[in-house]
Symmetry: C2
Subunit: 316 residues, 2 copies
Amino acid sequence: MSEFDILVSEVGPRDGLQMAGAIMPTHLKKRWIELAAAAGLKEIEVCSFVPPKVVPAMADAEEVTRFARTIPGLTVAVLAPNARGAENAIKAGAQKITVPISVSVSHNRANVNRTPQESVAEIARICALRDALPEDERPIIEGGLSTVFGCTIEGEVPLRDVLMLCNALVEAGVDEVGLADTTGMANPESIRRIFKAVRAEIGEDRLAGAHLHNTRGLGLANALAALDAGVTTLDSSLAGLGGCPFAPGASGNIVTEDLVYMLEEMGLRTGIDLEKLLAIRDVLHEGLPDEPLYGFLAEVGLRKGGRPIEKVASIQ
Amino acid sequence: MSEFDILVSEVGPRDGLQMAGAIMPTHLKKRWIELAAAAGLKEIEVCSFVPPKVVPAMADAEEVTRFARTIPGLTVAVLAPNARGAENAIKAGAQKITVPISVSVSHNRANVNRTPQESVAEIARICALRDALPEDERPIIEGGLSTVFGCTIEGEVPLRDVLMLCNALVEAGVDEVGLADTTGMANPESIRRIFKAVRAEIGEDRLAGAHLHNTRGLGLANALAALDAGVTTLDSSLAGLGGCPFAPGASGNIVTEDLVYMLEEMGLRTGIDLEKLLAIRDVLHEGLPDEPLYGFLAEVGLRKGGRPIEKVASIQ
């Protein structure tokens, strides 16, 4: 990370495609991942190791993971909801495995059919799988804390529950804990407050990134607040693909292109080429012609060499 | 302002309507303004005093201003590009007059056909008009500095030019100076840096609000940065109406509903009722049926009593 200030972690091939109305053909997933790496993305969450019956769009998880591992310099991240998924992810060569666990009991039940405590025990089993591997083959295990900033079923989520689960996850052996605004309920104030509290609780090295949604348009403001709280890894999705399937028209994940634009304009280096990044939207459109593609930058275009492309706007 | 933390200044009836493809009938403008005040907006920029030949949508400026003045508790703001407009605005009873002046020479010429120095001289004449009035009838004169964060013609705008013009405006007699990201080129870093510099230069009392655009999606992140820099007045437009006519699909002004949602979620009091605010979008749709209405909150809906309306979202 020394040459870059911020790690932008692309989660579209996992978080975006699991939600899409259609299934993107495997060869287009591969092209997306290849082009994203070529545009400078250093970490991509390429798929989810879930039963194809539950999420048919992820049936090619193994093939996609194996392909992604052939790309030099790329960290291949995946999601796995349980030990069976993690085992398959390890076999396929995943370098980072995020295991989701919701802070609120009802949401965790709805999502992975377990209590949070049962999820912690499952994550301990996944950490044991990791520890059984030779040291240089061990993937990073991240506990992906969901509903940290509010729950769609339970409402407010107490900070003490967040901190308790953070400690339980560290105890279970995770390398990192990430915080997700699964429900789009975070605001810049809660982002700053909770990230700082978690950082103080488990230490800077164990605090992974922020997984933010743009459900109510606060995505980039929340990302800015996370930066203020010392976060250096931000998840996002090309064209904002993914997010909430229950709110038509509202984009879900924060848009990678817009996030990178903000960071680079602020003087924070991401190592990502925005023109190359924007061009990948064509692959998404080819693979999912009916899916809406979000993003302001794509609408307006880049500023070229300090001479932006728009004409003069009128009064103020 | 003591009971509220942030003044949200609605600029839609001016900035939004001057850009719209159609002309909103006067009775609907009045209804918008009336409902906005009833929703808790304390300041509304109701129109622009420009020649009807140049901006036909503002031909009813005097009637709209006189109507707005009948609403108790509302500060009636207007825009006037020159002394003639300001004179008409004063006659109609405007309580606050913003006079636009671009920092970059080319943009000021394109916008008001003057050099910035000529604009300063014009603003001095407007301040003289104000001073000739009895003290209790004097409107607030705001110098509205445009292209502060970049110019679509000249590119980078030197901070020294911004500060020089701020001082010239204070010298000319303005009550306040506002800073506008006319071209949507600001980022949170430049917002913080430039607002702090201007504040140090002319003092907190003279620094009016931030007029931010959402051209590349950074609107709310920039608003957050402005708050960090001590700004307490933020311009915005209902449904994001207005903004850049040269970028189809890209919203212009930051969306009042989304801004108020962010502020209130952060615990900053605006005094604005979000449900009433959202309901006014119907008037906009009635008056400008072909105009796109922006805003994330309107798509997703409010969270009710801490129990949000969405169903459970899937994994992370």
